[in-house]
């Protein structure tokens, strides 16, 4: 019998769902092996029944629940709790689900501050009150899934590479726990490292790194960090290159920004990066700000509103 799968997106951008669709022909294989019972991106199953008059949010039972996105409003929380109840195992798909993701940058501000800005831009007409009719109230924070429900399988990445999504599903269907790389992006990066250089300061990414031209293989280019460009490779979990292995941003000659989240589950990318810089004699004060080092992992209480 085909495995039953339910999937939903919470505080998500839909990139993770597109990564599923981007498996190519493997998608058709997956569709043969699993029976989706809930998948709002692609099928019409409704929370309140197909006739729109069900009283409660309801989910069918499933062997596997795939959840992308973090939790930011009451409906996200309700859906996550309900899926936890109805699904045998839960996969947290993508860095929003595993660590908060980019939307968790909002944790540096209060909801009032977010609303005030959004409803008072130069194009926005004055309004008396924040909309409240028929829309789910916001929770105080953006949380990663495991701050609210138990998660069985973590699949970080913003988005995870389609190769990894397929690998994880295939493993699950065979009754195995998918294995994630435990290395850092640097460990899989082919660029040339010449040891501690005398950089001292980092520069902003406003000039191109040095290399001989588009034809030059990546292993001939010097490590971007050693060229004085902040690269989050040392503190970011490997895997973004999928089966092709080379970190995706580095292959485009741009520095890693950390989208797979910390190497160790509880790691703090900002703290770890500042340590890495300091131990290499690089002055972190040369950067205009460092909050962005947590741009993918601001859940788990890592980012909080400053007292203003």
């Amino acid at each position: 019998m085909a495995a039953k799968v339910a999937s939903d997106w919470l505080n998500a951008c839909s990139g993770c769902e597109i990564a599923i669709v981007d498996m190519g022909e493997r998608l058709l294989t997956v569709l043969d092996l699993v029976e989706f019972v809930h998948l709002p991106a692609l099928m019409d199953h409704k929370y309140y029944g197909q006739m729109g008059d069900g009283a409660h949010l309801s989910f069918p039972e499933a062997d596997l629940g795939i959840i992308s996105g973090s939790i930011k409003n009451e409906e996200h929380l309700e859906v996550a709790l309900e899926m936890r109840k109805k699904c045998g195992a839960i996969i947290a798909l993508g860095t929003c689900a595993t660590h908060g993701g980019i939307p968790a940058l909002a944790n540096s501000w209060s909801n009032d501050e977010l609303f005030t800005r959004y409803y008072s831009t130069e194009t926005t007409d004055p309004c008396d009150a924040v909309p409240a009719d028929g829309v789910p109230p916001l929770l105080e924070n953006v949380s990663a899934l495991d701050e609210k429900i138990n998660v069985d399988i973590y699949l970080p990445g913003c988005p995870p590479h389609p190769d990894q999504v397929f690998g994880a599903l295939a493993a699950f269907l065979e009754g195995k726990t998918p294995e994630l790389p435990t290395k850092s992006v640097c460990d899989t990066c082919p660029t040339k490292r010449e040891g501690k250089g005398k950089i001292g300061k980092l520069r902003r990414f406003l000039q191109a790194p040095q290399y001989k031209g588009a034809d030059e293989p990546l292993d001939q280019m010097r490590c971007l960090l050693e060229q004085g460009i902040l690269c989050m490779g040392p503190v970011t979990r490997a895997g973004c290159g999928g089966d092709g292995v080379v970190p995706r941003c580095i292959s485009a000659r741009v520095p890693c920004r950390g989208c797979y989240g910390p190497v160790q589950p509880g790691g703090n990318q900002r703290l770890d990066m500042l340590n890495a810089l300091a131990s290499n004699g690089i002055d972190p004060a040369s950067l205009p700000e460092t909050v962005s080092m947590l741009r993918f992992s601001g859940g788990h209480g890592m980012l909080k509103p400053a007292r203003r």
Partner: protein, 451 residues
């Protein structure tokens, strides 16, 4: 029937994003009111403050995982302006090339994965088969071809530009890497194949799909509004750059420079949706969603763009546009025609990508100009699949963001989507009679816009 009741369609499915519909029936079982609630608010305008401007093109992509390239490119254009840097021609061309390929790939996704089931399987079919899985089972060869074509486009982008979803390769001052001759050849070959598939798709739709649904096209979700889109200096549709054309329902229009957008567009805040509703402030008639007498309402996205454009810049797309105009006039108002317009744009995007890949300058190694952080303001704009996408940033002396305003493609259509849903609900639900097929048709009025 003596009680009023509310039908809740939640979530609206096979769209990108989070929205629900509430249809209120009066005691006779007729529609008293219907509303589309857009459920999400994330606060990008606030949380980008204080971040180095050059990082924004890698942050704002997370507004949408379906059209990240468009956010990426619009953000880069805005940052270039803040810092007063001008990308070299090849840098501009590479941005435009990938943005155009992303357009082509997105339209296949929308047509086949999100919308097609309503047409191929039928709007009244059981929900368990009325989806891409059902389409794949009903037409395995077509399904295989569709996933192959999308995979091809996505992997082509990934191979050349690193990331296909949440891209990184456009940078302040241009593009991060030059295109090699080998890249160029491979992409050209790939795009030619996708172009053939685009031609196949539009022919297939014109022959086997649209004629069957002519009644629905002429009636479902039909409203009367203005339109917005980008055109080049000759008035041809352009997805990357040009002037913004704002057209009234009667076909008259004004063109403006996007740097002046605040003079033309306003945003209304409703009490029932986190999404704001943009409207044409410059028409000076205010804002109203009344289906019979809308005020300030215009639409964006595929149908809007082919309505505002005088012509298409490539030959096959121009032929398709002429045929379309003969049938439906200019501006065409029927909401389901968004799907038809989508396929015309698909042909254009493929043709234009091929043109660019045949341009020898595309492999010029000079792709990036150096920039210095400074205080400034810049508005960056492209046509995203879902409409005119505007990013407006200001920076301080250190090049950190002090203020951001973004009007996302879909946002322009939030008001019109409400109107189309209301129109569909009122015309389909009578005397308390509702069924799954009817409710799905109400949702089809949303899916046309591809929100």
């Amino acid at each position: 029937m003596t009680e009023t009741r509310t039908i809740k369609i939640s979530p609206i499915t096979r769209i990108e994003g989070h929205a629900s519909i509430a249809i209120e029936l009066d005691d006779a079982g007729n529609v008293a009111d219907s509303k589309v609630h857009f459920q999400s608010i994330r606060g990008f305008e606030k949380f980008v403050e204080g971040k180095p401007a050059e990082e924004l093109p890698r942050i704002v992509t997370r507004i949408c995982g379906i059209c990240p390239w468009h956010h990426h490119v619009a953000a880069n254009k805005a940052v270039d302006r803040c810092f007063g840097v001008k990308p070299p021609p090849a840098g501009q061309k590479l941005r435009e090339l990938i943005q155009t390929i992303a357009q082509a790939e997105d339209k296949l996704l929308h047509f086949f994965f999100l919308a097609a089931a309503d047409f191929v399987i039928g709007p009244d079919a059981d929900y368990a088969v009325r989806n891409v899985i059902g389409v794949a089972k009903a037409n395995p060869d077509l399904a295989k071809k569709v996933v192959q074509m999308r995979y091809k486009a996505k992997m082509m982008i990934e191979k050349f530009a690193g990331k296909a979803i949440h891209p990184v390769a456009a940078v302040t001052g241009g593009f991060a890497k030059a295109m090699t001759e080998e890249d160029r050849k491979l992409m050209l070959e790939g795009m030619r194949e996708i172009y053939d598939f685009a031609r196949f798709t539009i022919d297939f739709a014109k022959k086997d799909i649209f004629p069957k649904y002519m009644d629905a096209i002429q009636s479902l979700g039909v409203i009367n509004t203005g339109f917005i889109g980008t055109v080049d200096s000759a008035g041809a549709l352009n997805l990357y750059d040009g002037k913004i054309r704002l057209m009234k329902a009667d076909g008259s229009y004004t063109d403006f420079d996007v740097q002046d957008y605040t003079d033309y567009l306003g945003e209304h805040v409703p009490s029932w949706s986190y999404g704001k509703f943009p409207y044409a402030k410059s028409w000076k008639e205010g804002f109203s969603l009344d289906i019979d007498n809308p005020k300030g309402i215009y639409r964006s996205n595929t149908l809007a763009r082919i309505n505002v454009a005088d012509h298409m810049a490539t030959p096959a797309a121009q032929e398709e546009l002429e045929e379309f105009r003969q049938l439906f006039g200019r501006p065409a108002q029927a909401t389901l025609l968004y799907h038809y317009a989508r396929l015309i744009e698909e042909v254009y995007a493929c043709e234009h990508a091929i043109e660019m890949l045949e341009d020898p300058e595309i492999t010029d190694p000079n792709v990036r100009a150096e920039a210095e952080p400074k205080a400034g303001r810049g508005v960056g704009c492209v046509e995203a699949p879902r409409g005119t996408l505007i990013h407006d940033y200001s920076t301080d002396d250190n090049g950190l963001i002090t203020r951001a305003n973004m009007i996302v493609g879909t946002t322009h259509n939030l008001g019109p989507i409400n109107m189309s849903v209301d129109q569909a609900a009122r015309s389909l639900i009578k005397d308390g009679h509702v069924d799954e097929g009817i409710l799905n048709k109400v949702e089809m009025a949303v899916r046309a816009y591809d929100p």
